[in-house]
Symmetry: C2
Subunit: 146 residues, 2 copies
Amino acid sequence: MRLSLFTDYSLRVLMFAALKAEMFSLSEVAAAYDISRHHLVKVVNYLAKLGYLETRRGRGGGIVLGMKPEDIRIGMVVRRTEDTPFIVECFDAQHNTCPINGSCRLKGALAQAVNAFYETLDRQTLRDLVAGNEGTAMKQRLLKQP
Amino acid sequence: MRLSLFTDYSLRVLMFAALKAEMFSLSEVAAAYDISRHHLVKVVNYLAKLGYLETRRGRGGGIVLGMKPEDIRIGMVVRRTEDTPFIVECFDAQHNTCPINGSCRLKGALAQAVNAFYETLDRQTLRDLVAGNEGTAMKQRLLKQP
């Protein structure tokens, strides 16, 4: 069970934005995580489309959080960034080939487990993730703040 | 979030074994699900290695469940069959490159969510999956039983 790199990077960018709490550039967040800028362009555009980030063009432009960190539920972010929302084949009606689909109890069990996964993540907001001593330590590492 | 095909096929083979409740051949389960026999060889060998299946060679040989279906917890099966147990990079200490690892609250949140996923699945045994009307319907479809 693995989340996509796209989800991983999305969460990292959002944490960076919450820690920074002011406008930043794509190059800045790319350098902070040592990730290619190229990889983050799509991530930032998608998060902006969803309203989690705001991007402003031109001089004095950049990237900034588009919502309050306490209003960003982590489970919801992951639901939206995962490119493979189907845990197994039969969740994708168009591509199912399994002959027991429709009378399979495993499907229900998996759906419950996936819900439990997202509900657990929904108990955390972006604000929770950047709070406390860990938040301070992350700031030091990512923003090179003393 | 997607489970591997290996996990998917492992669960399907175990359900088949529980529904059949007697010795069967690799070709039989492959035909029932319309999956290539080739794909199932590794699955059956691995499940046999874990004790979930028993394989007997030679005349009168075949595959049979190696444990009682009520003793097979689905979460445990999935934990053992998933080839990518690391939900994001930093769960794999050998390959982590993320600079905030060690002071990142997201890691703890994800670990909790993964646990919730597996704990939910652990509430189901293989016996639960093949019980009731759905079990009867699956038998009809997979074993061509009236």
